[in-house]
């Protein structure tokens, strides 16, 4: 994998597998062996699956997400255009055919030609069908060779996680399998790598059954080898290089940036989500808006409204909104929920995390106590995680962290693999604020991830290069500098053009309002309002400036909101001092 600069101009991914992933079954039992990328750190695991069905459905859903592409693309009407051209030619040809005899002769010939064409079509029907089958096969093989298909797998001390992006890069999926789902765990080495995951393997996985003892092996050799650790002298069975779109990795970072924010959490019964998905499967519309609206009233069950039909789904009593303020949140790109179809019938509960209207949402399906499936959807399908305009890292907070502190947090997290912020703070004798900022920086640098179900950071290194705290800080600073809003906010703060009008502690954090000079120059002053969490992450925000009036938070917070947060952070610091 090449990593050109700090903020993610990634050029390509190299995959090298010493064996192929596979699934085999005999009378005695079954064996699922996943080959890991031998160019990454040695990561392996061996155990017996206690619930193969759950793993099967989880992998199936992950594959559905990876395969999915919901971006709208205009149809290529090649055949229609050819037909039109043919009609034009016919017209021009007939235009000069004035004589009736010639016309009738032409008509006879054309009929005969049509007959012959029909006969040829009939004669070639088997050939055409076979050719179509071959083209499908070739297209699948070709696309698999160059597709970003292979999930990123991380073996943690307590669980395994499989992460992947959809083809349209607007959906992120993570399958978590706890160690409790395995028995006879023998060989384990924590780490992050890729696994060879093909369409054929997906087909084979459908043969997993609970009545057959299924051995689960994750290692370098894959199916052909019994050895889990990489054998550097072994011949390479499969190798591919994928040119990644610029910033693909940034998508990963954006997702975890979002997850570390304070989100509105809703709990749904699986049947509620199923009702919505079933309706979407049965109905399609060309009309706008095609949004899914969450009507949230304190103490009442959640109501989901599908536009433009305005069909309401009252959720079950389990799905009661526990917030204090009634609100309505609209999200788009709802068709992507179809990828949950395989999971919903077997999941025990479904947690939905919302940021705001037009912003991403995260759907966490709990598959019992020890497994979960997370689906993070970008604001809408075309606004994908990678190239979309929403920059969520601006919403998260950043206290000053030195390179030494960042390095210390990295080292500790790598040693522990998973730890709470409090635990890390206690071990390193650091303030929690600093630890949170450091974890946020590590997530942004691809060295850590944020587990939404446990709210704990985990070590997950996406890169093969050594971590350099100075480089990571430089990259973060560069990112902030690249964001004009962040730069403007800093300038406003330094010039003293922001003042806090009201600041009151709230349920979990603070609610603020302020007065700020308008950076766009359209008005003299604007009024930003902000709701921040305990970690000063932005929960909701508004401003009277033109940008926020038009886009809300869907394109990130404006400079005034960010300046207000900086002012609040300065107050917090002075108070603690």
């Amino acid at each position: 994998m090449a990593y050109a600069d700090g903020r993610g101009k990634l050029m390509n991914f190299d995959y090298k597998y010493q064996g192929r992933s596979g699934f085999s079954e005999t009378h005695e039992g079954a064996r699922l062996a996943l080959a890991t990328n031998s160019l990454r750190e040695a990561t392996y695991f061996r155990g017996i699956l206690r619930d193969p069905l759950l793993a099967r459905e989880g992998f199936g859903a992950l594959y559905d997400v990876v395969q999915s592409d919901f971006k709208w693309r205009p149809k290529e009407r090649v055949a229609y255009q050819l037909w039109l051209e043919q009609q034009d030619r016919e017209f021009v040809r007939n235009f000069s055919q004035h004589q009736g005899v010639a016309q009738s002769k032409m008509l006879t010939l054309r009929e005969r030609l049509a007959q012959l064409d029909g006969a040829r079509r009939n004669r070639r029907v088997h050939f055409t069908a076979a050719r179509q089958r071959y083209i499908r096969f070739a297209a699948l093989s070709e696309s698999e060779a160059y597709r970003v298909l292979d999930p990123v797998i991380t073996v943690h001390p307590d669980e395994m996680s499989f992460e992947a992006f959809s083809r349209d890069q607007s959906s992120y999926a993570r399958l978590r399998l706890g160690y409790e789902l395995f028995s006879n765990i023998s060989d384990t080495a924590c780490g992050t790598t890729n696994i060879d995951f093909s369409a054929a393997l997906h087909d084979h996985l459908d043969r997993m059954r609970s009545y057959r003892e299924t051995a689960f092996e994750l290692g370098a050799g894959g199916f052909a080898s019994k050895q889990l650790q990489p054998d550097l002298g072994a011949p390479v069975a499969y190798e591919k290089r994928i040119d990644l779109p610029d910033g693909w990795m940034e998508g990963f970072l954006n997702v975890h940036g979002l997850m570390s924010m304070g989100l509105t959490k809703l709990q749904l019964a699986p049947i509620d989500a199923l009702n919505v998905v079933k309706f979407l499967l049965a109905h399609r519309t060309q009309a706008s808006p095609r949004a899914m609206r969450f009507e949230l009233s304190p103490g009442l069950p959640i109501r989901i409204v599908l536009e433009p039909w305005n069909v309401s789904f009252w959720c079950s009593p389990l799905s009661v909104y526990t917030g204090t303020v009634a609100q309505s949140i609209r999200i788009w790109g709802r068709d992507r929920l179809r990828t949950l179809l395989r999971i919903l019938p077997i999941c025990t509960s479904l947690n939905v995390h919302l940021v705001g209207s037009g912003l991403p949402s995260v759907w966490v399906a709990e598959l019992g106590q020890h497994a979960s499936f997370t689906l993070a959807l970008s604001g809408w399908t075309d606004n994908d995680w990678v190239e979309g305009e929403g920059k969520f890292d601006l919403l998260t907070r950043r206290a000053h962290v030195s390179a030494q502190e960042l390095q210390a947090v990295f080292e500790m997290l790598r040693a522990l693999r998973v730890a709470s912020v409090e635990d890390l703070g206690a071990r390193l004798q650091m303030l929690e604020e600093k630890v949170k900022s450091a974890v946020s920086l590590l997530a942004q640098d691809g060295r850590a991830m944020f587990d939404l179900s446990t709210h704990m950071p985990r070590y997950r290194d996406l890169f093969t290069t050594a971590f350099d705290a100075n480089q990571a800080l430089k990259a973060a600073t560069r990112a902030e500098k690249q964001s004009p809003e962040a730069a403007l906010a800093k300038a406003l703060m330094e010039l003293g053009d922001i003042c806090i009008i009201a600041r009151r502690p709230f349920e979990s954090g603070y609610k603020l309002s302020g007065n700020c000079a308008d950076v766009s120059g359209l008005a003299a002053r604007v009024r930003p309002a902000l709701h921040v969490g305990g970690d000063t992450e932005i929960i909701s925000a508004s401003c009277t400036c033109a940008k926020m009036q038009k886009n809300g938070l869907s394109k990130g917070p404006c400079a005034h909101v960010l300046a207000l947060r900086l002012a609040h952070m300065a107050r917090l610091q002075s108070a603690s001092a």
């Binding site: 079954e25 199936g60 084979h204 059954r209 699986p270 049947i271 009593p317 077997i346």
Partner: protein
Amino acid sequence: MTAMIVRFFSMTQSPACVMLSLEPAPQAGHDAYYVREASGLVPNKLTAGTVYGPFAKTEAVSALEQLQQGYLARGYLERKRRDYLQALLQTDRKARARAAIQVGWRKPAGAVAALLKAAAEATTEISSVIDALARAAKQDAGVADARVIAVASEQAQKKLLSRRRSGVEALRALSDASGIATAFESGLARLNSEVALLLSQMSHSDLNNLPLLKSKLQTLSAPELGLTLDQLYEFDTPLTMAAVREMVFENALKPGRFRYTKSIFKRALLRNDAWMLAKLARLFELTRPPAMSTSIKSGLDGQARQSSIYSQRTRAWLIRASARHLRRLGNFDSNQSRRTGDTANNFLACATALLAELKRDAKFGAQIFDSAVAAHGLLYPASQLRTGKRRLGGYVLAKAAIVHSARVPFASIWQQHPDAWVGLLAVCEFPALCEGIEFDLRTQPELIRKINDQTLTLLYDVASVRELAGIETTRRFNPAQPDLALCGALLDGNPFAQSVAVALLRDSSSAWAQNPNAIQDLLTRAGTDAQQKAANAVIAALNNQSQTARAPVLLKMLVALPFEDLEAHAGRLAVITHFATDYPQALSVEHLLAMLDLPQAAPQTAAVAILASMPEGANHIGVERCLRLADSSIAGVRRFALVLIESSLHTIAQEPYGLLRLADGRFPDARDGAFKLIQRIDFAQFGFDGILNLCDSNQAPVQKFARDWVRLNLARIDAAALLLRLQEHPHRTMQSFAIELLEHHLAPGAPALARVRAFLQACLRRPRMGRADKDRLLQVLRGRGASDAEQGAMAIAVLNDSLRTATRRDREPLLVALSELSLRYPKEPSDWRMQTGAAS
């Protein structure tokens, strides 16, 4: 009557030079002529003129004579043929040298004697005189040999390169073996001692020594290498010539080397070495002189001087030299060749080699033929030749008129050698020339009939005329006595040539189909494609024969077929495999096994087909291999493999797991075949696990077969156990089948219901589960729920889980079932509350 030219000159009048000529006027008729009067200051720059006519022949001659008389009356003198022998006596040594060269080429009577006299008195022009002597003496061989050889031998021993070169080349031209041997020894002495030793020890006819010689030469410095290469060229043995050809062009024009490169070029001119002449001439044309001069030590006085070794002037001379040499060959040498009956025409050889060098040069882009002097000398009238003084770019040449054999210089030579003229098409890329030859081929039908078979075969590589070649080949071909060598050569060619060959073979098949040797030769081709084409032709021919008639041919082919490296004999193999069923007993099992291991489809198919026709075929390769072959990606192999499996069904029935694996394979035909075979084996033989394995398939056709098969044999299987397994199947059709089994075969009691509870729950939730299945499932739940309280509680819990479905058609029957059970077990918790009218 050809053109007639009379020249006049006057030292006192203007214009000084006049030329009167009589030229044919083809536009005006067969017997029409122009009379042209041209005048100017110098003979080769006639600037003014008048054309009279056209006249009839007699009138034209009369008009010419009138003009002639007029000029004579005005005091003009008629210009006579120059006396070159007299010119040898001039005082200017350069003039003597030029005269000697002219004498050498023109060979007037008494030339050798005059040249010998000139040689005796020559100073610096001795090289030119010796060169001329060699040319002149060659013609008059036997008359002045001894004298000429003595003079040449004397020069061959000189130290100075030019003299030694002229001397040795003269000895070679005169075939003086002893003189050449002496020169060889002297030459060795001049070489680097290691190279000399190596050369003296090596066989000069064995080209395997070439790498060793080359490696030794590569250790030499540039000047030493240049001298050595020139000396090797002088030796003129196969080994030394090969070494020179490979090494002379690299750094050929660098200061230390150029002197010797030029020497090799001059030797090539003297020897008429067409290949070397053409390569070096093209090298000089394409390589510009360097801008910087070099300091070099003079051989004359030992002083170091600045000199641009390969200057623009030198380059121009070299370019002129090649063009001039060709012109002289055309004017003098070819005539002599014809007179002496010498078929090796130097002009044609050198011209063809030079024209072949006129290729598109990537270095020069659009200007494809940068100077193309040779093209001008060979294709356009000599008057246009301005060598070395004016750059004649590709643009000028591209715009030039189409050339055809009647308009090119030395047209008569080309017309007398149609093979050489037409053969240029295959070697030259010069557009005007190619167009001209095509023009000739299309407008002169007799031209293509004059060329030989070899040239005709070359035309198949030229896209624009290959059809003409095809027609001519077909015309010449005699189906009764087919030229199979020609057909083979065409089969080795491009697809068009192959198609012609196939047609010829088809038309003449009756003449060769009984000849095993001819067929073997025909099938022995270099390329796989050619082998396949030949094989198809042979198969078509043999198909027309009866089985008895073709048997000897096939058997002979079979006997000659090796066990190993069968891929190299793809043609023969294709024929044998095509007629494999003709002689199943003749092919040994080893043959068949070897054929099975080949990657090609045909031999594999044939081998399996033959095995299938044998009573014990399956035993030869074993059941496991039969099963593997039935899953082959080759359809024919699969078909016959199934026959083999069928023949050993009783063996497979003992352990039918492999057959089940085949039934769940990749290919529909193999699957269908396996299904049929499975049905012929006793159901019990497969065991519960085998049947379950088939049901577990992910492929819809296999699932359908499994369902139907199980339904037929339901009484012989533990349906309840199967149900508990099938409930885990992820596919809807098999889940539907599980519901079907659930209806009738679920064991009674709450524990059995508990084991399928998750399945029932998931089915009710699944959006894509069919209506009928859901109804059947509800029916089961109602029935089981009604049977006892424990099952009732379980059924209520399952129904309650999906109670909040928003799909009306799901909800209503579910509510009915839940209501019924809730009424029966009112204490069971449920989200659904029944209230009577009074209560509400």
